[in-house]
């Protein structure tokens, strides 16, 4: 039964990074690793380079980078940092 709910609740993730900075590269690889491990095939991940789209910074209220926005399932959560603290990432994504 849990499986069906998870099937419906696909994780919609957007990761904002700044070019190829150390934190950005680390965040991308850490997040991909976590997603593959815990929500395998049940997520969509968009990676956005804020340098390329500067206006998005104001629109999305971006301050700290890298920033991961989980817009679904609700509630929306924001995670900042290089995603190296796996426990916190899972907590933020609502995966126990």
């Amino acid at each position: 039964m849990d499986d069906t709910i998870q099937e419906d609740e696909r994780y919609v993730l957007r990761l904002f990074v700044t070019g190829a900075s150390v934190n950005s590269v680390r965040a991308i690889s850490n997040l991909k690793h976590i997603c593959e491990t815990y929500v395998h095939d049940n997520y969509s991940l968009e990676i956005i380079d804020v340098y390329q789209e500067k206006t998005i910074a104001e629109k999305e209220q971006i301050i700290a980078l890298p920033l991961l926005i989980k817009s679904f399932p609700l509630p929306e959560r924001r995670l900042i940092g290089d995603m190296s603290d796996t426990n916190r990432v899972l907590k933020g994504l609502g995966i126990s």
């Binding site: 904002f16 700044t18 900075s21 934190n23 680390r26 965040a27 850490n30 804020v50 340098y51 500067k54 206006t55 910074a57 104001e58 209220q61 971006i62 301050i63 700290a64 980078l65 890298p66 920033l67 991961l68 509630p75 929306e76 959560r77 924001r78 995670l79 900042i80 940092g81 290089d82 995603m83 190296s84 603290d85 916190r88 990432v89 907590k91 933020g92």
Partner: protein, 569 residues
């Protein structure tokens, strides 16, 4: 070989470039503004005016100095800010549409954020960089960036990033204002002053005796001269105005021009011409002695000469003063209508002394009057101590004298004893001091006026009776008799008595004249009869003399006859 390092007069040293804030008074204190292309920290407690201060910097920059600005708000939303400053006449929406100002509201909800490792604040850099580039900003405000500390956990990262941010802003050559909440014993709660070391301005909002005063102090200004005092400032419908209290040097110009007090007999007491232009006049006296009337006369006289006058009323409303002045034949309303006379009525308790001073400064600079009247200064004592009031008045007199404005204060003295000092202790500061006092005698009160002092002119040392009637004010010579100074009806009675005496004396005089006339007549008739007597006596004497002569002749003749007859024998 001798190398001269001293300043070469032909090649001036390069001074720190400054960016004018456009805030009234602040540019004078800082001698030109805040350091250009560098960050300045403005700190202070809640509600001290930090946001307004920085907003005015941005708006004035955009409107007056053609320097677009970015306002990054960490506290208030853009539309809230727009609304808040609309009361000052700043149209932020239009300025934003004209690409002169850019507002960016930075919002962080701590509960929504999970920190998962190393991060940086590149988001702020990107947003700020984009905003600066999009409008070509020369000015940036970060209000209040310290909010980051409460939104994010990792203080070490924030500190490192702030340091980087300020360096980056310097590199961008934008003049930045960073605001910070005042902490306990330190300038900002999170020690921002550590990063912003060029210029630190501290704002304070102090409440003493339920009266609030806003104060500004430049704590630090690297590479520049600056005023070090606490300067009061005012927030009103036109924004912020800081009162620069220049060093109290006594080198202002003086005038030998005289201005009439409006009361001819008072002018006569003052060497015949009145006060010096640009001098300070104190009118003190007990309650109801006509201080306001004197002030009203002076205002009237000033406006009559087509000069401007501001009347600061601390006790009565303008309408009340105008009505009361009508009763002594002074019509101030017409001058109010023609714009020569301006009333500014406020309760002394409205705000602190400093605020009053700022308000007076502002009005005087706007209205450019030749005469300023403060009626009465006594009530100011309710909002400050004697020494504070005195300092304030010193500064006011100093300012007005430097502007060549004649000022008249009225002050209430509380008892009938002539004090060497008035309650406000300003008597030593003023150039002329008129004392109006009650003279109670014979069951009535009358007003006596003295010129206690009047610098630089011959003035009367006499007490004059000060009479207020329907026709206006007048000074009458008092009667100085054996019983002392007589005024009012006693003086009148004395005058009558003297008149009676005169009539009696005159009468007595005529009686004596008649007596003398009669005596003269008697004597004259006596003289006439004596003359007659003398004449008749003379006649008689003459008669016998002639007879004698005749007889002698006859005898001689007879003898000759006889002799001849004898010889004929």
């Amino acid at each position: 070989m001798h190398i001269n390092y001293s300043q070469n007069p032909h090649k001036p040293l390069k001074l720190l470039p400054k960016s004018p804030t456009g805030i009234i008074g602040l540019d004078q204190i800082t001698e030109g503004g805040i350091p250009e292309g560098r960050p300045t920290l403005i700190c202070g407690g809640a509600g001290c005016g930090k946001t307004l201060f920085s907003m005015e910097f941005i708006v004035r920059g955009a409107m007056e100095f053609n320097e677009p600005g970015v306002f990054m708000a960490f506290e208030e939303k853009a539309d809230e800010l727009t609304m808040n400053v609309a009361s000052l006449g700043f149209d932020l929406e239009k300025l934003q549409a004209d690409k002169l100002v850019k507002l960016d509201h930075v919002y962080i909800e701590r509960s929504e954020i999970e920190e998962t490792g190393e991060y940086d604040l590149d988001g702020i850099f990107i947003r700020l960089g984009h905003a600066i580039d999009s409008i070509g900003a020369k000015r940036v405000v970060l209000d209040t960036i310290e909010n980051l500390f409460s939104s994010l956990n990792n203080e070490a990262i924030i500190r490192a990033e702030l340091r980087r941010l300020f360096q980056w802003l310097k590199g961008k050559k934008v003049t930045t204002i960073i605001t910070g909440e005042k902490g306990d014993g330190i300038f900002t709660r999170h020690g921002l002053e550590e990063y912003v070391s060029d210029c630190v301005i501290l704002l304070d909002h102090r409440v003493m005796n339920q009266i609030s005063t806003r104060l500004l102090r430049i704590v630090k200004y690297r590479g520049s001269m600056h005023g070090t005092n606490e300067y009061p400032f005012l927030i009103d419908e036109k924004g912020i105005s800081v009162l620069p209290v220049t060093a109290l040097t006594l080198d202002h110009d003086v005038s030998t021009e005289r201005v009439s007090s409006g009361i001819p007999s008072l002018d006569k007491m003052l060497g015949g011409k009145g006060f010096y232009k640009g001098s300070s006049v104190l009118v003190s006296g007990t309650a109801g002695t006509g201080k306001t009337s004197i002030a009203g006369y002076f205002a009237n006289e000033t406006c009559k000469g087509n000069k401007r006058c501001i009347y600061f009323a601390f006790e009565e409303s303008p309408k009340q003063i105008i009505r009361n002045m009508m009763s002594i034949g002074i019509h101030l309303q017409e001058y109010v209508d023609s714009g020569l006379l301006k009333f500014h009525a406020s309760r002394p308790t409205l705000n602190g002394l400093e605020m009053h001073l700022v308000a007076i400064h502002k009005l005087v600079q706007e209205f450019k009057p030749q005469v300023v009247i403060l009626d009465p200064i006594t009530n100011l004592i309710t909002v400050g101590s004697v020494s504070e009031v005195k300092t304030m008045l010193i500064r006011l007199i100093d300012f007005l004298q430097s502007e060549q404005i004649t000022v008249m204060f009225t002050a209430l003295t509380l008892n009938n004893i002539v004090n060497e000092q008035t309650d406000e202790g300003v008597s030593s500061l003023v150039d002329a001091w008129l004392l109006v006092r009650d003279i109670e005698f014979n069951g009535e009160r009358n007003r006596g006026m003295y010129v206690m002092k009047s610098r630089g002119m011959k003035h009367s040392n006499q007490v004059r009776e000060f009479v207020i009637s329907d026709e206006g004010l007048n000074l009458v010579d008092v009667y100085l008799g054996p019983e002392g100074v007589l005024t009012g009806s006693a003086r009148e009675a004395q005058r009558l008595q003297e008149e009676t005496g005169d009539v009696l004396r005159k009468h007595a005089l005529t009686m004596k004249d008649m007596e003398i006339g009669r005596k003269r007549k008697v004597l004259e008739s006596k003289i006439a009869s004596l003359k007659e007597e003398f004449e008749s006596m003379q006649d008689q004497l003459n008669k016998s003399y002639i007879e004698d002569t005749l007889r002698k002749e006859v005898i001689e003749k007879n003898r000759e006859e006889l002799t001849r007859n004898r010889h004929n024998d």
